[in-house]
């Protein structure tokens, strides 16, 4: 489904990502791990079109998409969350979800001004879908609050819900467990697995929480200082000497 070949990204003199390759199949959870500053987020930024990679190929469903603008990539069905949560803090929770469904709505201004049946119907559908996902992540009671007033863990869940209402095929999560307490992390664990099992979404996951990664990943890619270090099943990674030396050993 997603294939990344020899991706590299250079910032001036710094080669932040150097020859990273990975692939994601349908209904698969693939993790990217590596020490701080390894270049994980930069890989995400290249995949999501936020940066234009300086080398390599990104192929999504048979199409080369490297260099495609970010909003077009998201419309193809690849959406992401951010390492530092990015919500529309002054808008309400439900409005955050409506914004995300922009392209599913009738954005014809005349239709909106006149309130045509098709416009109303789609608007209602969007509200229903928003309600569904809020229920799913346990935020329905907070639907009309400002998103900025949510607790940190709730904001994280809202960000995932906001991705899900766009009906993505591939979800990219950048450290979704950062700052969560153990109970919340457990819920997150179940949520991610359910996204894959029940909604047929593939997930690319960046995470420092090893127990979460080892628990839910189908495959893991390790990168270190921008270079691919190892890749394989959690079991293989756990016993890989290089990885232990470079990453797990120091932790």
């Amino acid at each position: 489904m997603l294939e990344v070949k020899n991706l590299s990204m250079r910032f001036g003199g710094l080669l932040a990502v150097d020859g990273v390759s990975l692939d994601v199949q349908e209904r698969e959870i693939v993790s990217i791990i590596g020490p701080n500053g390894a270049g994980k987020t930069t890989v995400f930024n290249c995949l999501s079109g936020f940066y234009k990679p300086t080398g390599g190929k990104v192929i999504f469903e048979g199409r080369e998409i490297q260099g495609t603008p970010d909003y077009k990539i998201s419309r193809l069905g690849m959406v992401r969350t951010f390492q530092h949560v990015r919500l529309f803090t002054q808008m309400t929770v439900v409005e955050n979800l409506l914004v995300a469904q922009h392209r599913h709505l009738n954005t014809n201004m005349l239709a909106g001004l006149l309130g045509t049946p098709s416009y109303k119907e789609r608007e209602q559908k969007a509200l229903d879908r928003a309600a569904y996902w809020l229920e799913r992540v346990g935020l329905l009671d907070l639907a009309n609050r400002d998103a900025g007033n949510l607790a940190y863990g709730q904001q994280r869940r809202l960000e995932i819900a906001r991705c899900m209402v766009t009906e993505p095929k591939l979800l990219m999560l950048d450290e979704p467990a950062a700052g969560l307490n153990p109970a919340e992390t457990k819920e997150l664990n179940q949520l991610i697995v359910s996204l894959k099992e029940d909604y047929n979404v593939s997930v690319v996951l960046i995470e420092h929480d090893m127990s979460l990664v080892m628990d839910i990943s189908d495959r893991i890619n390790v990168i270190n200082q921008g270079k691919p270090l190892a890749s394989g099943t959690p079991e293989e990674i756990r016993h890989n000497d290089d990885v232990i030396k470079a990453y797990l050993g120091e932790a």
Binding site: K72, R80, M91, E95, C163
Partner: protein
């Protein structure tokens, strides 16, 4: 810290001296063909020194002053009270707005012609401010050249009436559409810019349009402007003493009443009122539509918005175009009201005034914008003796606003979509 403060204060005082001495202290006088440089009166020099001292003192105690200013809201009886509940506020604001409109409908029949004329101007500013509010308040794009679109609307009507004899009602949509189109064309290249850069470039565009109007003498008449712009008609009835256009009838003859110059003024006022209400309603509606949410989302977090599939250019361009559209609307009404327009009506100061209304009113709030438009247009009329100091007072008011109530008189009343829990 203290030394630093001292140095800063000294620096500011010296800058004051350097700037004000040549401007106020020296004057050039033309004597025949020669120009002589002469000094000013001693009192002026004393004033300059006093000003420098005042700046010095202020800068030294700056923190104390600003701290005190920051505490001012405590004087406000409403401060500290729980903010009103969302639904209640929405209701209250709708009631207030309706009340204002109903009052505004009957009001012109009770007052003098001059007041009605001024009120028409207020309504035009309300339209402009509501339109600019979309661009600045909702989409967060600082546009300092907004007056350009106002000019496009006004000149469209003026030129079309001069060359084709078009009527007000035909010109209204054409002017608005052309202004919107201009907004789209100008917006396209500049919307990649952010913040300050966007402000500067739009400022430049505003000036370019004005200078173009000023210099394209063959078409626009240059600084002489264009006159003879017709007034609106009511179903083919004219409001003048005599009918100008063939086929039209005149209002006072049709109804068999005596001719009065007031009919025309009141009619124009009512048109402006209706258009202002329409503008407010349409923009209110936009705010609940996907496009309105997209404006806000992009303003709040552009990166997140794009990651969700919103195209920055499309969304910003729509805000820019819609804002320009309503400026064109207002421009057409303005041209019709004045009967004569020249580039002088579309200087940067106008953009600044409209922006001031938006900022004063509280960005995003319609009721606030309406009240601010009334204040900004009427107060200078009431205080005519101080008209020389108008800009000074204006500037001071803006600075105080920024310190005291950066959110505006009536802070943003967002129109929200609420989710009614179905179960």
């Amino acid at each position: 810290m203290a030394a630093n403060n001292m140095r800063h204060a000294l620096f500011c005082a010296i800058v004051t001296l350097i700037i004000s001495f040549p401007i106020l202290g020296l004057s050039l006088e033309a004597k025949g063909v020669n120009i002589t440089l002469s000094g000013a009166k001693t009192s002026t020099y004393v004033a300059i020194v006093l000003a420098a001292v005042a700046v010095f003192v202020f800068q030294i105690f700056r923190d104390t002053f600003m701290g005190a200013l920051g505490k001012l809201p405590n004087l406000n009886p409403l401060a500290g009270r729980e903010p009103m509940e969302q639904t209640k506020r929405v209701k209250l604001e709708s009631w207030l707005l309706t009340g204002i409109v109903v009052f505004a409908l009957f009001w012109p029949f009770l007052v003098s012609r001059g007041s009605v004329d001024l009120a028409t101007l207020v309504l035009i500013y309300i339209m402009l401010a509501l339109g600019l509010n979309v661009v600045v308040g909702l989409a967060g794009l600082l546009d300092l050249g907004y007056v350009a679109f106002y000019a496009v609307g006004a000149y469209t009507f003026a030129l079309l009436s001069q060359y084709t004899g078009i009527s007000f009602w035909m010109a209204l949509p054409i002017g608005a559409l052309l202004a919107g189109l201009t907004g789209m064309i100008l917006g396209f290249p500049v919307l990649r810019l952010r913040g300050d850069y966007l402000a500067i470039v739009t400022l430049g565009f505003g000036e370019i349009i004005r200078i173009l109007l000023n210099n394209w003498t063959t078409l626009t008449g240059g600084p002489n402007g264009i006159g003879g712009i017709p007034e609106p008609t009511l179903f083919g009835m004219e409001f003048g003493r005599r009918v100008k256009e063939e086929g039209n009838t005149s209002f006072h003859e049709t109804f068999g009443i005596a001719y009065s110059g007031e009919h025309k003024v009141i009619f124009l006022y009512l048109i402006a009122l209706v258009l202002a209400v329409i503008t407010a309603l349409i923009i209110r509606r936009f705010m609940r539509m996907p496009v309105g949410r997209a404006w806000e989302a992009l303003r709040e977090d552009e990166i997140a918005a794009r990651s969700l599939g919103l195209s920055r250019t499309a969304v910003k361009l729509s805000a820019f175009t819609i804002g320009a559209f309503f400026a064109g609307f207002a421009g057409t009404v303005f041209a019709s009201k004045q009967g004569f327009i020249s580039p002088e009506s579309f200087v940067f100061l106008e953009s600044a005034i409209i922006l001031a209304i938006v900022v004063l009113g509280g960005m995003g709030s319609q009721l606030g914008v309406i009240l601010a438009a009334i204040a900004v247009t009427i107060l200078p009329e009431l205080a005519r003796e101080f008209s020389e100091y108008r800009m000074l007072i204006f500037g001071a008011a803006m600075v105080l606003m920024m310190v005291w109530r950066p959110q505006g008189l009536l802070p943003v009343r967002r129109i929200q979509i609420t989710l009614n829990k179905q179960g």
